[in-house]
């Protein structure tokens, strides 16, 4: 009789593992707009299938909760059922013997809280409030670019048409082809089969292959004038669409060049000048007037703009920075990320040769600064972050790229003070080691570890811990703000300021380029309506009809970068585009949700801008 055995996965268990993998794939492609009650019931059903059946709350409680939710879904539920559901969920959460039951009940409570309206609608009207969103990528893209459409065009080799189609919703195809965070890929239905389509990669193919694609002709002049404050992605997006609609647009930009954070925030190795220039040139080719080097609120008042123009769009971005807020921050050799990247944008690159540099922060800006410092000749670059590396808000590729280029990530270290030398120069950053604690707002909050402070010697400290909106001049003229953010509603309107709109980073706080573009497009549509028009934009090109779906699992083509040793000391473009062969295969993976599934019935394509 053997005493012990090695566990080998049997076929049944392997199959179970595969099914869980299927579930993970499905989660990755969870469609938007499904009924939360249905989803909660299904989730608890899965939890129930994992129950051992020993303890009452899990075995019976989960089952009863599923039954109650199904009753509600069938339009037979009462307010009393809702009450029983909630009390049961509390009891199960509080008393189940292990997490299998308790956490399922917590999910029910989360749902009852967050989706209360829908539960109530089911009970009181027998109807669900939800509406299935047919094309996940278009829904997820803040600008709602017709992604299946342009993928089909790229597949057919109609690159210029694909650019025209993208520009219908987003005038920054080139910039987005390189730096967009591609939220469109997050719920790509292809993830059910294998992985999301590499949408940004396909867009880059379109941009590179299409060359220069001129802007369409503008509508006849309407005689209306619109001022746009800020020449970043949001302001220029609004400018482009409003000018196409026939309005006369003037953009006021306080810096010497247009582009906003695309120029003054994003390093050139990620977004080379020629790509940015292409987008800006096309936008300006529509006849948009530009005044650079002018600060609204200083040289020209907002009041003046309101007098001279029929509408004003404030898109001033978030170009100030947060200081480190620690002792010794007055030392020489302390710099903000914003200052460094702004200098880079204007071509005034500092020389970091031989320097030891510490970057403080964990977001994408911290990574941009880290990798820029490396390229500027730094001897060492250490990125110091309070939390764990996995908690960094920077994209994983950015973090990995920085490490590959020889930068160090120093996680779980909180800056305490700056140590100065006799001349007042930075000598070191003193940090307190941290340990990840309980979750607060979805991330473990770091707390001081029971370990002594550490000293990180350095010549320069760059703070990348957040940008701030410089809205004081506008607030002084009566623009409502909250913690420096301009208060605009979801239509980009400012309450009690007729004809003044605001959007982008200055209203939302620092977000991504595509979110700024979303605001610019929203503002353009709503300013046009405000001016009394329902302007049409040039019709999009015709989209090739979908052929059969290739549903066999096939590898996603990922983007490749120049090798770290090759790229880490220059500012040339880092990313290598797809080959034609790769692009064609990647396009063929697209499931054409605009044609198959609900898209074939609802909402695959529209002539005019509509709410998605």
């Amino acid at each position: 009789m053997s005493r012990l055995q090695i566990i080998r996965a049997d076929k049944m268990q392997q199959t179970m593992d595969l099914l869980y993998q299927d579930l993970a794939h499905r989660n990755a492609a969870a469609p938007e707009g499904n009924c939360p009650v249905e989803q909660t019931a299904a989730l608890v059903g899965i939890c129930l299938s994992q129950s051992c059946g020993k303890c009452v709350p899990c075995r019976v409680g989960l089952d009863q909760m599923v039954k109650l939710m199904n009753k509600i879904l069938d339009g037979q539920g009462s307010m009393q059922d809702l009450d029983v559901l909630e009390r049961t969920a509390h009891a199960v959460m509080d008393s189940a013997d292990c997490a299998i039951g308790a956490d399922a009940a917590r999910s029910v409570l989360t749902s009852l809280d967050g989706a209360k309206q829908d539960f109530l609608a089911h009970v009181t009207t027998g109807k669900c409030l939800c509406e299935f969103k047919p094309v996940p990528c278009r829904r997820a893209c803040p600008a709602h670019v017709d992604i299946p459409g342009y993928i089909a065009l790229v597949k057919d080799g109609r690159y210029a048409d694909s650019i025209r189609l993208i520009r219908k919703d987003n005038p920054f195809p080139s910039a987005c082809a390189l730096i967009c965070e591609h939220p469109c890929e997050n719920r790509c239905r292809r993830s059910i089969v294998d992985d999301a389509i590499n949408i940004r990669g396909i867009k880059r193919v379109a941009v590179d292959a299409a060359g220069h694609v001129p802007a369409p002709a503008c509508n006849a002049p309407t005689g209306k004038k619109v001022a746009i404050v800020g020449g970043g992605p949001s302001g220029l997006t609004a400018a482009y669409f409003l000018q196409l609609m026939g309005h006369a647009v003037t953009v006021y930009e306080q810096r010497e060049q247009l582009g906003g954070m695309l120029r003054y925030g994003i390093p050139r190795y990620r977004l080379p000048e020629k790509y940015l220039k292409e987008d800006i040139d096309v936008i300006l080719s529509t006849g948009v007037q530009v005044q650079t080097g002018v600060s609204i609120g200083k040289e020209i008042t907002l009041e003046q703009l309101r007098r001279d123009f029929d509408a004003v769009y404030l898109a001033i971005g978030a170009h100030s920075f947060q200081s480190l807020g620690i002792d010794g921050q007055d030392a020489k050799g302390i710099l903000s990320a914003v200052e460094l990247l702004r200098a880079m944008g204007d071509g005034n690159a500092p020389d970091f040769t031989g320097k030891d540099i510490v970057v403080v922060g964990g977001g994408n800006v911290a990574m941009d600064v880290t990798r820029t410092a490396k390229r500027l000749g730094a001897h060492t670059v250490k990125c110091v972050y309070r939390r764990r590396q996995v908690d960094m808000t920077a994209q994983v590729e950015e973090v990995e790229g920085a490490i590959a280029e020889g930068c160090d990530i120093v996680p779980l270290m909180a800056p305490v003070r700056v140590e100065k030398d006799a001349d007042g120069n930075v000598a070191a950053l003193i940090v307190q080691p941290q340990i990840p604690g309980e979750y607060v707002r979805g991330r473990p909050a770091p707390v001081n570890a029971n370990r002594p402070e550490e000293r990180i010697p350095c010549d320069l400290i760059i703070g990348a811990i957040g940008q701030v909106i410089d809205s004081a001049d506008f607030a002084a003229e009566g623009v409502p703000t909250k913690r420096a953010a301009i208060l605009a509603d979801q239509f980009c309107k400012i309450e009690d300021m007729d004809g003044v709109f605001a959007g982008g980073d200055c209203a939302s706080g620092p977000l991504t380029a595509i979110r700024a573009i979303e605001a610019g497009k929203t503002a353009a549509g709503n300013i046009d309506e405000y001016l009394g028009f329902h302007s049409e934009l040039p019709p999009p090109p015709e989209i090739p009809k979908a052929s059969h779906q290739a549903r066999k699992a096939m590898g996603r083509i990922n983007m490749v970068e120049r090798t770290p040793s090759d790229r880490s000391d220059d500012f040339d473009i880092m990313e290598i585009g797809m080959t034609e062969e790769e692009a064609h295969q990647e396009c063929s993976r697209c499931l054409r949700c605009d044609h198959y599934g609900y898209g074939g019935f609802r909402g695959s394509r529209e002539e005019r801008w509509t709410r998605w």
Binding site: E38, C130, H548, Q549, H595, F601, R602
Partner: protein, 573 residues
Amino acid sequence: MVRLTIDGKAVSVQNGSTILQAARSAGIKIPTLCYLKDVNEIGACRVCVVEVEGNENLCSACNTQAEEGMVVYTNSPKVRSARRINVELILSNHNTNCTSCVRNGNCTLQSLCRDLNITDIPFEVSYRKKNWDVTLPLIRDTEKCVKCMRCISFCEKVQGLGVWDVVGTGPRVRVSFRNVKSFADTNCALCGQCITHCPVGALHERDDTVRVMDAIADPNQIVIAQVAPAVRSAWGVDAGLSQHEATVGRMVTALKGLGFDYVFDTDFAADLTIMEEGSELLERLTHKDEYRWPMFTSCCPGWVRFVKHEFPDFLPNLSSAKSPQQMFGAVAKTYFAKQLGVDPSRITCVSIMPCVAKKYEADVPQVSDAGAGADVDIVLTTREMARMLRSSGIFLDELGETMFDEPLGLGTGAGVIFGTTGGVMEAALRSAHYLVTGENPHPDAFSAVRGMEGWKERTVQVGDVSLKVAVASGLGNARKLLSAIKAGTVQYDFVEIMACPGGCAGGGGQPITDGVELAAERGEVLRKLDSSAMIRFSHENPFVQKLYEEYLEKPLSHRSHELLHTDQSKWDI
């Protein structure tokens, strides 16, 4: 052209054709259910799935493009199995009480099951129980709904209303009102096009046949029928007669056989409408500044509901003349009752209409003026009439011909074309010409307003007056036309609108032949009746003339106004 192979047959079709079109052109039948040409090509039911060589998944023939070199199998083992299971799955969600279904014998799902030799359902059958106010003219039976989405698409894309929508997601998806809780809150015109485009019995009109048979059975009641023009173009389909056999005279005989005491013709009232509406047009033209322009016809209650719901600003533009149905009712319960020497309450006035909205119109309290309850008591659709005939045991094909009764049974060719798009306009212009010039035009002088275009505009000469007229059918077209008038991009003097595409011939109360639009063909039947009519001018209808002499005096007289005109803005909706 694209060349492909379907079931071993070489087929060549236009670029952009679907596999379904390609197969049909080669005489290969692929069964469909949710498919509605150009309106609902959404691949929902998965009944039309076919196998395409080199493709692991089956694809829906209705919305997959035929491609060069494609090799398609429409009846392979894989196709047969999937198609069969899919139909069985549909049945598992469907109340298959076919024997007592209004669409028994004319149901696409039923014939599909027969064609696929489905004799058993391997699944548990369950469906959402129906919950509908059965007093409404339009009934939705969720127990029958197969979620083909045709009603949603037709209402939205063709009629431009969007009454219906998908509600919920996943297994509990159903079709219900868009964004509102109850029927009363919708913008439904009651055109009934969702009924005629439903493949099953999920949508139908309120059945009022029992009320009619009860009235006939009541010895105290004098039950009179009026038959709308478009009914005669289609009634045979559901009654089991060929177009050749389904003559007007046989229809009258059959209705008499059912027990109606008098069978009259709505064409008579159409002629009367022309007298009132034509005179009103001339009155408006002579006092141009006192009226809102253009003047709109008002005989279609679906259109009136549409204006009330969506363009109330245009209510003053509607002609105040009642529809032929309501003029008939008002005359029947006054003039005719007097002629018979009976109290009007003893008359039950039944109208047979190609229409669902007419059920609403007859029930509008403000429209009845004869002082004896409703002027029109009961409205039956063409389909209901056919169902009554089928249940009567009359051998329809052996019936002889009978003329409509007098005096309210004589209609002119101008009256009969009321049932097709452009017909009201043409009839009005014929008589307007006479009223202006004192001379009849050639009866076909205004043929330019004929044709099935959804929105046509013409300039016509009526004596010295040049009139800019427009004709639209289908509410989607009506919306475009009204929006253009509102925007000032078009200007007209007189506009005819009918809510159903092609006019009443394609009405929501007409017999259903799934997948075929018959408005044009049926309109032709009416055109032929007009061209062969003895009298082709409403003002020459001798009984209309007599009615004016004996009772109404003249068009737009005080009594005419009391009985034959209405203020649609006051109507309950």
